[in-house]
Amino acid sequence: MSGVSELVRWDAARLAEGLRAKVVSSEEVVQAHLERIEAVDGPTSGENPDGVHAFLHVDAEGALARARRIDADRAAGAVLGPLAGVPIGVKDVLTTRGMPTTCGSRMLEGWVPPYDATVVRELHGAGLVVLGKTNMDEFAMGSTTEHSAFGPTRNPWDPTRIPGGSGGGSAAALAAFEAPLTIGSDTGGSIRQPAAVTGTVGVKPTYGGVSRYGLVALASSLDQAGPCGRTVLDTALLHAVIAGHDPYDSTSIPEAVPDVVGAARLGAGGDLTGVKVGVVRELSGEGYEPGVLARFTEALDELRAAGAEVVELSLPNIVHALAAYYLILPSEASSNLAKYDGMRYGLRVTPAGDGVTAEQVMRATRAAGFGDEAKRRIILGTYALSAGYYDAYYGSAQKVRTLVQRDFAAAFGQVDVLVSPTAPTTAYRLGEKLDDPLAMYAGDVATIPANLAGIPGMSLPVGLSDGLPVGLQVLAPQQADDRLYRVGAALEARLTATWGGPLLAQVPEWKGLSA
């Protein structure tokens, strides 16, 4: 790459600096990213056999118009936010006024929402330029992005492999240099696991730290929108834009947002003296690939070298978190997805014949509009909530949730942050676990506990195993999101020094399946 296209390699902090200093214009930056998307993403609609397919919808005209407006405002001397003029991709689970929002589902194909999600409104307010909407597993149910009704996203490190999920599009867009920043959502790991398998950074904020208004609900007590970037600082800059109380979301936290940007800058010095790091015994060892464990162990050495005190501790109930999650999530999902009934918006399928009733239309609409994984979870949730099973399944799962929260509370009485591998494996092959839901669910074992407890978590890259990225997860107590950034930035600074540059500098140039 050379000339203007080199801009797609810049991280968001560098782009912001270049824009502020008027070294580059937002129009140039946006144009470079649109050209990059055109070159590697493939057609933006329909199934694409050979592109990254990180985007479901690209709004080139709208993005360029907005970029020109930001440039004009800057030229006129307007006071702009730190990320003004920087392009961004938004997971297709957040509503965008005037721009399609499908949630990766046939049910919402062609739906254009009449309002912006609060997160999207915040992005516009801060002057970020939305390039388009990123691919995802249908209604955020899945860990591979293969459950998108519009075809899978490919992993930029290896086009035959999954980019993680459900936010595979948001993570792949970063790793393929199609966008410097993206928004994701994390119900059981959908920001962190894709970050891990694509060598990018992703943060699930404290539950309630970022508004859920306009975030299409999967499981309301677990869902959390969050920032994705190529560096810890970029992710913090975006976190600061989207976090904060929202009167439109009654579950959003009224307290002040922790200083995540300050923490990232502090951590970048590489010093963690006085920080206590706990290694979760239950989240490593059996079931984790040797290559993943090797990179994790090396990262622990780096944390020690940075001055952190690293201790191992046990969270005994965490081993039941996966089971509890796969009862709580389907239960809440079956309720949230009940609204797709073909009456007010989205797909409507009317069976042939006279005297067709609303209920027949609903059944036909939901049969045609939902994919396999969505149907599986709706049926499972309906079962877990039904009379006679409620106490044994949903009720017990909620009690396990209490035990997991207690374990975290006890652990954070002893250490400042907890760490584990983000996922037990590197990216597996497309199709490998498509017909084995249990095997796919097992990949969420390390990320799910944070959602049950409402605590914040980050995944950041800690190296490669057989040429594929490995992620490390950092967890902190509720409302202590800043700790993720301090520890993450310190680890990133030390690892980047040993690699001689960012890990993503090693991602092969995209050649599709012909590679």
């Binding site: 739906w111 254009v112 009449p114 309002y115 539950y207 309630g208 007590s221 677990l222 009167p247 009654s250 579950t251 936290i253 109930n317 089971a323 509890a324 796969y326 009862l327 079956s334 009940a338 073909g342 009456m343 007010r344 918006y345 989205g346 409507r348 005297g355 009733t357 609303a358 209920e359 027949q360 059944r363 036909a364 939901r366 049969a367 939902f370 149907k375 599986r376 709706i378 049926i379 499972l380 309906t382 079962y383 044994a392 399944y393 017990s396 909620q398 009690k399 396990v400 949730r401 209490t402 035990l403 929260q405 839901p437 249990l438 669910y441 959602n451 049950l452 407890a453 605590i455 509720q478």
Partner: protein
Amino acid sequence: MSTISRPEVEHLARLARIDMTDEELDRMAGQLGAVLDAVQQVASVVSDDVPATSHPVPLTNVTRPDVVRPGLSAEDALAAAPEAEDGRFRVPQILEEDA
């Protein structure tokens, strides 16, 4: 083995308002049985004295001042409707012919 029978899946699909083919019902029964096997451990690890947690952050009765503010227009709200008429959603008949 906590099996889930095919008629049971058929019943659940009816409750969830999803038409399913015979092939889908067969496949779903097998897969759900396997998932239920894996998750039923939750019942054996908790005791009666553990309270249930429904929400990660304790919140009660969030209120806001009752003031008029702009909302969606009827036109915006109906813009994506499969069918609309006279400023309202038009839906298929909700009762059976002979009901």
